[in-house]
Amino acid sequence: MIEVKNLTKEFNGVIALKGVSFRVNEGEVFAYLGPNGAGKTTTVNILATLLTPTTGKAMVAGYEVSKDGMEIRRLIGYLPEDSGLYPNLTICENLDFIAGLYRINKDERGNKIRKLLEFFDLWEKKNVLASTLSKGMKQKVGIARAMIHDPEILFLDEPTSGLDPGMAREVLKMILQLKKEGKTIFMTTHLLARAEQVCDSIALINKGQILCAGKLSDIKNKLKSKSLEDVYFRLMEGGNYE
């Protein structure tokens, strides 16, 4: 479903990604892990067609990101690291605008928005201005927005960022629900224990380089680690995976 080969990204002489390669299979939950500034968001931005790779190849659902941007954009939903809503529009207006960009007709829009807002327990607040929402609520609206066109693949950049533990657990439950529906989910997160509960595969990145990638169970077996947290810190502290 997603295949990345020798991906490199350079910004004004600064190399953000150095030969990144990994693969995500259809219907998987993939956790992309690493410290701040490791290159996680840059990778997600390339896969979401927001940035073009300097060298290397990235394929999403059989389409190449640097050539088939429009086809990929139709298939993916994307939650940026900062959910970013129009502050002087209501929750409903924010979702309605994005639904319009996906050419969802007016009648269908109303139903979809209602279904999503009820799912996220936000229906009562549909006419509240986005600027007055808490960080957690903004994040929920951001996820609803990413799902408005029922995408095949979801890119969630820090979906639990700023959420209280209860809300973070709700979001992870929702991710599992989406997985059951056959969606492919690519997420970045700092919450290793939570990620371990939902993900099938992982890639660990540091300073723009992949430290390990593959099925979580295979990686744990290979490193004789009991938990994802153990894998993370062993490799971050210089442990060798190969």
């Binding site: 940035l51 002087n88 529009l89 960009l101």
Partner: protein, 230 residues
């Protein structure tokens, strides 16, 4: 018109006109300009100074272009400040649609002001409404709004930081003045003094430059520059 262009335009108008930080300077700009130019126009009309009337009419027509520019200037800057730019760019919307949607809000604003000014001029000033004046009011004016809009949207999409502090606001004003200087330079070369022909030539120059600006602007549009942002 394309439904996505309409959606972007509608959203742009909503977010602009719900924002007091934009509305207040807009109203001030229109108010001050009208109150400073109208008495001079009245005087020129009363004294029958045709050249002054033309000059003042052109100056009045700069008001809608300034309005359109002020709305357009914030189009991409706000998306970056509000961190909504990625959600817009990740949607299956072409560069042309984003550009036209953003332009639509500015053009609508500019044209509404333009219509109000034309009504004000035609109703309250005893100007002989001849063909040259109609060309100025109904052709050159709207074309200038389009030109100023395309110029500001192109500039701020390529260099979003130019909109910070309002520096980009000078770009369309400079562009409009450059077009006029080019027009008058060509007219003096061709030695044309017929007002109708003069205005038709100016209108054609503005139309040509507006079209070229649109083509360059849509080719210039770059998602990555907006994502990397300010």
């Amino acid at each position: 018109m394309n439904s996505v262009v309409m959606e972007i335009g509608k959203k742009e108008l909503k977010t602009t006109f719900k924002n007091k930080a934009i509305i207040v300077p807009l109203l001030l700009a229109v108010g001050i300009s009208i109150f400073s130019l109208v008495p001079q126009l009245s005087k020129a009309v009363a004294e029958g100074e045709i050249a002054s009337v033309y000059l003042l009419l052109f100056m009045l027509l700069l008001i809608p272009t300034v309005m359109a520019s002020m709305v357009g200037m914030n189009a991409f800057l706000n998306e970056i400040k509000w961190r909504t730019i990625k959600s817009l760019l990740v949607a299956p919307v072409s560069e042309k649609e984003i550009f036209m949607g953003k332009s639509l809000a500015s053009i609508t604003t500019g044209l509404i002001v333009e219509i109000c000014l034309v009504v004000l001029i035609l109703v309250f000033f005893p100007i002989v409404v001849d063909i040259p004046i109609l060309i100025i009011l109904l052709v050159i004016g709207p074309l200038l709004v389009l030109f100023a809009t395309f110029l500001i949207i192109a500039a701020t999409s390529r260099f979003p930081s130019s909109a910070e502090g309002g520096a980009a606001g000078f770009i369309p004003v400079g562009g409009v003045l450059a077009v006029f200087f080019l027009g008058f330079f060509l007219l003096s070369l061709l030695k044309i003094d017929d007002p109708t022909l003069t205005n038709i030539i100016i209108a054609l120059i503005v139309a040509g430059i507006t079209f070229v600006t649109y083509i360059i602007a849509t080719k210039w549009f770059n998602r990555e520059r907006l994502v990397v942002g300010l």
